[in-house]
Subunit: 204 residues, 4 copies
């Protein structure tokens, strides 16, 4: 027993999500208009409004849809190798068409919790998971400190890559990946005992 009436058109649904992603990457979030999405998708405005009640809702679904399965789990055997791959993956993402969309999203994140959550789940969450495993392995090999804030390390990497992508996209080359990897590995493996305050604390 199904609902009567004409079912939702899969073609329209797809066309709208695609148009949204393309327009987002071209004009950014604030300049994205539902009218333009409908026109680009070859669809009536009503069809968009029927299924998504706001621009944010539409963007959220479009981004989730576009970002399915985009993080691989690196396991090269060394902290440096794994980190480099994670950073390289981030750079690849930031440089992809979806990257421009995500930049726009993060830019809007402080004004719309829905978008913040989307950026978080698409860019950060999976990477934190991956990074957690990565650091566990590293710790077992004695390559990493045990008092790390994984979320902070992830934010460090993500923020820096997206910041650079925004401020100087040309600089996102292999050298950048190397240097950032260096800093992260050093930070992650650095002996906290070097620090007098922490030394004092751990002694006391």
């Amino acid at each position: 027993m199904t609902r009567p009436g004409r079912p939702r058109s899969a073609a329209s649904h797809r066309a709208i999500l695609d148009a949204t992603i393309h327009l987002l990457s071209e004009v950014g979030y604030p300049a994205l208009s539902i009218e333009a999405v409908a026109a680009r998708a070859g669809v009536g405005k009503g069809t968009v409004y029927r299924w998504w009640s706001s621009k944010a809702e539409l963007v959220v679904e479009a981004v989730h849809d576009a970002a399915l399965g985009m993080v691989a789990e690196p396991d090269t055997g060394s902290l440096r190798g794994d980190t480099r791959e994670l950073v390289a993956g981030l750079v690849a993402l930031a440089c992809s068409p979806l990257g421009r969309v995500l930049e726009a999203l993060s830019a809007e994140a402080d004004r719309n919790p829905q978008l913040r959550e989307t950026f978080d789940s698409v860019v950060l969450a999976r990477r934190q998971e991956v990074a957690t495993h990565l650091l566990d392995r590293a710790r077992r090999r004695g390559e990493a400190r045990s008092d790390l804030d994984v979320a902070l390390v992830c934010d460090l990497a993500v923020a820096t890559v997206f910041h650079r992508a925004r401020m100087d996209p040309g600089a996102l080359d292999g050298g950048f990946v190397d240097h950032l990897t260096d800093l992260l590995v050093a930070g992650v493996s650095g002996d906290p005992a070097q620090h007098p305050d922490r030394l004092a604390r751990s002694v006391g």
Copy 2:
């Protein structure tokens, strides 16, 4: 010998810049409208358009005007102390009203080079200078590696602070400052010899 006619009204000028900063911090860059600036400043729209030909130009001047002399040079005697103060200063900036404006600016930076340059000169340039001195002193004390990319370290700090301010403003507390300082200090002082490539290079 001055131009004939009524001179520019200093009061209007000030009122417009102030209104711009306030509105920027309230609604962000994309939603900032000249109409609203004019209304808030108690000024005709034409007066704004007479002196600034675009929203970007207006924002650039307003931000520069608001950001005069906001970075102190820390010198605590230790890398960790100096770093902590730098980070704390960044957090303070990001949490200030101007901080919200700058966030918005950095968000828009990938669409407008003029804004990128402004963010760069107001937030990054002076801090890179400060960080350079800070690291020089640290190196002289043997606390820092000698092969550091200062710009990258600065970007790391700035990007992370502003990223957190965007994604989770509540988390910008003392603990955050500590952890970020830890990571930066570890990264900056970390032994590059741990890296096989660099090891090979230093050996060869």
Copy 3:
């Protein structure tokens, strides 16, 4: 031997025609929507469109359906009596629910020949027939001129009644019927010889 498949629903057919008439009398022709007809008839939109290809076609059938046998043939023995009854019948029609529908129809007649024809056949044709007989009898009694344009006299009566119904429905009372009858009878029985041109013609 019947056609295969589900037969046309007589109930739907009736409900649609009735809904059409009621809505026509309420909102008029231009504001009549197939959607509203379907809703009022408790029927799917498609069912209406299946059987009538346009609003005009639907209205034409509905009006013909509603107007079956509505003109009686007066024969009171005098021109005045017959005329009064004809006019009274027109006023009754114009005041009836169907009258409002016909007004709307005549209003739209200049944009749609199909509607013109319907108005003509429902309102005018039968009345011209009646009026022809009426005037024949009058002429035989010496009450009417012999050079009358029957169609014009009919139009005069119909147009005036419907015009008044539109412009001032409250004025369609017995006095109005009297006065209009007066004018028509006078016009119909008036001596054409008063007219110099016609005088000249009849002399020559």
Copy 4:
């Protein structure tokens, strides 16, 4: 001391009224859209809405504006001559572009009192005035009955002309004018004493 701000643009005002009249004559009242008026006038929608709050209001002004000084006062010396000129004037009006507009207006009159009033004041009022003078003169010459309802006579003429214009525009020729004049003159000059009822009444 005048109002501050830019004054209303006379050109836009004119263009909007003209566009309204032209579109009315092309598509009729119900199909007239403010959007189309604005486009045709080369004007923003907002400018139309700023000065007229509804379609009806706009149409009312446009029609009044277009109808300034369109009724001449005939005085040929005879009832027939004056009547013929009045009828001919009506036919000319109904055949003019404004005529199509007025037809549309009268069609809508039963749904909108504002439009009724406009049709009345533009088409009827001035003609009733003229007809009153015309009949006064005729009565002084003994050409007309003294118990006439001038408004009814006017309605008769106006309704018939507009009815014909709607139902059969091609028939609005000189012959039509002649026949209608005949009937009107006969009706107006017909001896009411011929009528037994009235005779009885006047006797009693």
